[in-house]
């Protein structure tokens, strides 16, 4: 089947191209601002290329230390949180995937109900505080240790796996635990990658828990720290007197500094994303496996 390239095709390609470019232009602009001199930015001269190129904003980020600390906390959270999420999702999804398991209805209802109602912010806060988790990394991880929706996606995937492998394992005398570890787990690859990625992105992007459960701004994870920048970075800059920072400050302003930090905050996801895109895409269709 041959088709000629028509005017329509050209318009289509260019038109869609423009729309798609709008999705990344703001970030290119942000990058340009972060590398530009403060006066050029204030005068509105910066478009998509840096003007009066300087790395002062990035020097500030490194000298200031707070950004790096917040990033460390976020990385810690992503690793710990994602591992815990995966372990709990697998452990919960596997038994629930057995349609005829006695009591399964009640058990799955127990989990699904939590998606519908919650006790609200204050009681949850009192609980977390009462357990002594406040100001620890666990306050960011434990309350959401089992993401129910993703667990259901995984459960539906497990249901779709061929049953014969499990039965063969049982005949060899394998217990459910060893079946899960040796037979099922290795088959979970792609779906686990998907829900694991959702967990990672969720942990990385969350700012609210950090704001509520960390009383010291020094213990904020990255997104929470960035949130405070949106509000009062100007004032923060004015009061910064660490070391030779005044020298750096003369070449940057709140806008370039903020741009640099926002860009660095977005960078890990932008870097990881193209490689893992297929898993993200897969996740969208996984959810609609029929029961």
């Amino acid at each position: 089947m041959k088709k000629k390239i028509s005017v329509f095709d050209i318009i289509l390609t260019i038109g869609l191209g423009i729309i798609c470019i709008t999705c990344v232009l703001p970030f290119i602009h942000l990058l340009a601002v972060s590398f530009s001199g403060s006066s050029a930015v204030a005068a509105g001269k910066v478009g998509f290329l840096p003007v009066d190129f300087t790395t002062a904003s990035y020097e500030y980020v490194i000298t200031g230390g707070r950004f790096l600390r917040a990033m460390g906390i976020s990385i810690e959270r992503v690793i710990l949180g994602t591992l815990l999420n995966i372990v709990l999702m697998v452990l919960t999804a596997y038994p629930l995937a057995k349609n005829d398991l006695p009591g399964r209805g009640i058990l799955s209802g127990f989990f699904v109900l939590t998606m519908l109602i919650g006790g609200g912010m204050i009681p949850t806060y009192l609980l977390v505080s009462g357990l002594g988790l406040k100001d620890t990394i666990w306050a960011l991880i434990l309350p959401g240790a089992l993401p129910v929706y993703n667990m259901i996606i995984l459960m539906n995937f497990i249901r779709g796996l061929p049953h014969e492998l499990e039965e063969a394992a049982w005949i060899d005398g394998a217990s459910p635990f060893s079946t899960l570890i040796h037979v099922i787990f290795p088959l979970l690859g792609p779906s686990l990658a998907t829900v694991g990625l959702f967990s990672m992105v969720g942990h990385w992007n969350d700012w609210f828990a950090g704001m509520i459960y960390m009383s010291e701004p020094l213990n904020y994870p990255l997104q929470t720290y960035l949130q405070t920048l949106l509000v009062d970075f100007e004032k923060l800059l004015q009061s910064d007197t660490t070391g030779n920072i005044q020298d750096i400050l003369s070449k940057m302003n709140a806008r370039t500094g903020r741009a640099a930090q926002l860009f660095l905050g977005a960078l890990p996801i932008m870097l990881v994303y193209p490689f893992l895109q297929k898993y993200f895409t897969k996740g969208l269709t996984l959810g609609s496996v029929k029961g």
Partner: protein, 547 residues
């Protein structure tokens, strides 16, 4: 399977690396309150304890403080002074950039520090929850004489910190009503060129303003979307917009909807029609209005006492030092003395946790701040006092400081006196000025080198013609109307935020630009009432009426 364990090992290794990196975010050792750890206080309220007393507080991260050297929120001149003078170790339970939120969570959690500051709504919550201490006993025994005098002098404000006649929150007060008055600011070089004298009537003001506009271009009166200049000039008609006024029959009503305001609005509408008020004001926010002033588009503006700090320095950099503005009294319609509006202004309340082992230690801290601003001059070195009061260090003790409402008044007397003597060629002993020396220096700098950064202090308090110079008369003669709402907002006012005022501002704007005629005012008042104004008025009368 092997792959899995490799991933696991790698994961754990990475985790450990991160943990080392961030110190695994070790829980900060929260200072615990030792309930039984009471240390017997010395008899003299200014004497140190034998044993170190630990007191906790929680505070707000403020961006104004410029910490010097290794100083931070937990180690700074104030905290060191407490330790050195009284053997009190003040520790921060936490410092947050979102104080209100964190405080509410802490209250819900009943996990509060020994001392901190709250607003009036939180004061009520804490009192009802029984989490804070009745302060009467510790106040009577340990408050300094000056602090006790504050309570006497500002009894009505201290009343707002009481429940059933017992003191639960010590009001932190403010820098004084001398800051609250309004003026007409007039540009001096133009005034001289045109040969004008101080305006005695509102017609004089308009004459000056229109002459400037004809001669130098621009417009006669600036204005912006919030109509703030209208509300300032309305004082001339005896209107008091924005505050609650007591009527002759003793009931309280909102100032912005009174007949006097309608009269002021009527005249203002005429001025707009005559091209006196900036025709473009509906498109201008405050910053843009001030940009016009900086560009020299206008030589007369109704404004508060701080015009000299913002935007005047920029205006002078742009237009030259001769373009200085001086403040004048707003003339009244009938020639009677002008009466400004004075609102209830309180920075918060200092509260002490019920169960705090050494509440008198907190009184010592509170006393000490007051001592440094009131009677330490001469007893302490200027260097010592300014180490406490420079670099915005007082912000660090925001939770425990009580301000002297005569602060700015007394400051004016001191600075003006020293400045007068300097101008008369006398030697001035600046060591007697204490922390006010920087204000004095600014005034001198303005005269000697026309340093634009000094013009603010000069116009605020440098001489009789300064804003404080005029306001001192108002304060001394009680020439003002006090807000009948002498305390916090009532629930309806809190809930409606700015929406009630927005109805009026939007409507007034329509009248001024001629979209509606002046009788629309009465319709607006009805709208205001049904939108919650009636409810608010009722609450105000219930809470503040018949006192």
């Amino acid at each position: 399977m092997k792959k899995l364990s490799t991933i696991g090992t790698a994961g754990i290794a990475a985790l450990m690396a991160v943990c080392t990196l961030t110190g695994c975010m070790s829980k900060p050792t929260a200072p615990t309150n030792n309930e039984s750890g009471r240390v017997e206080p010395p008899a003299d309220i200014w004497a140190p304890y034998d044993q170190t007393v630990t007191v906790t507080t929680m505070g707000e991260e403020n961006s104004g403080t410029e910490f010097q050297g290794d100083d931070d929120y937990g180690n700074n001149p104030w905290y060191r002074a407490y330790k050195e003078r009284f053997n009190i170790d003040l520790q921060n339970k936490w410092i947050s950039n979102d104080y209100g939120t964190k405080l509410n969570l802490a209250i819900a959690d009943k996990d509060i520090a020994d001392v901190f500051y709250v607003d009036s709504a939180r004061l009520t919550t804490l009192y009802e929850a029984g989490l804070i201490m009745d302060l009467d006993e510790v106040f009577d025994s340990y408050a300094s004489d000056v602090l006790k005098q504050y309570r006497k002098d500002y009894a009505d404000t201290w009343e707002t910190g009481c429940f059933d006649g017992k003191l639960y929150g010590m009001p932190q007060m403010n820098y004084g009503i001398i800051d609250q008055f309004q003026y007409v600011w007039i540009r001096q070089d133009w005034m001289k060129e045109c040969g004008f004298e101080e305006p005695k009537t509102m017609d004089d003001v308009i004459k000056i303003a229109t002459t400037f506009a004809q001669k130098y271009g621009g417009y006669a009166l600036p204005e912006c979307q919030t109509l703030e200049n209208l509300f300032r000039l309305a004082l001339s008609w005896g209107a008091h917009p924005g505050i609650w006024v007591t009527k002759d029959d003793g009931t309280i009503e909102y100032g912005t909807i009174q007949p006097e305001m309608k009269e002021a609005l009527k005249q203002y509408t005429q001025w707009y029609k005559d091209g006196i008020v900036n025709p473009n004001f509906t498109t201008l926010n405050w910053d843009k209005m001030m940009q016009g002033m900086i560009n020299g588009e206008c030589g007369v503006i109704p404004f508060a006492q701080w015009f000299g700090y913002n935007p005047l320095p920029d205006l002078i950099k742009n237009q030259g030092a001769d373009a200085i503005f001086f403040p004048y009294e707003i003339p009244t319609q009938d020639g009677s003395p002008i009466k400004g509006s004075v609102t209830f202004n309180n920075n918060g309340y200092v509260v002490i946790r019920k169960g705090c082992a050494n509440p008198e230690a907190i009184m010592k801290i509170v006393n000490f701040y007051i001592y440094t601003v009131n009677d330490a001059v001469g007893k302490e070195s200027n260097e010592y006092l300014s180490s406490l009061h420079s670099f915005n260090y007082p912000n660090v003790v925001r939770g425990t400081r009580i301000i002297n409402p005569m602060n700015d008044y007394n400051q004016y007397l001191q600075v003006k006196d020293a400045f007068d003597r300097w101008q008369a060629g006398e030697d001035v002993d600046t060591s007697a000025l204490g922390t006010n020396v920087s204000k004095y220096n600014s005034c001198v700098n303005w005269i000697t080198s026309q340093d634009p950064n000094g013009v603010g202090d000069f116009l605020q308090q440098g001489n009789d013609r300064s804003a404080y110079g005029i306001a001192k008369k108002y304060v001394d003669n009680k020439q003002y109307v006090q807000d009948a709402k002498w305390g916090p907002d009532t629930p309806t006012l809190q809930a409606s935020g700015s929406t009630l005022n927005d109805i009026l501002i939007e409507g007034f704007t329509k009248i001024i630009i001629g979209e509606k005629d002046i009788d629309y005012f009465d319709e607006l008042v009805q709208q205001w009432k049904t939108a919650g104004g009636d409810q608010a008025t009722k609450e105000i009368n219930d809470t503040y009426g018949n006192k």
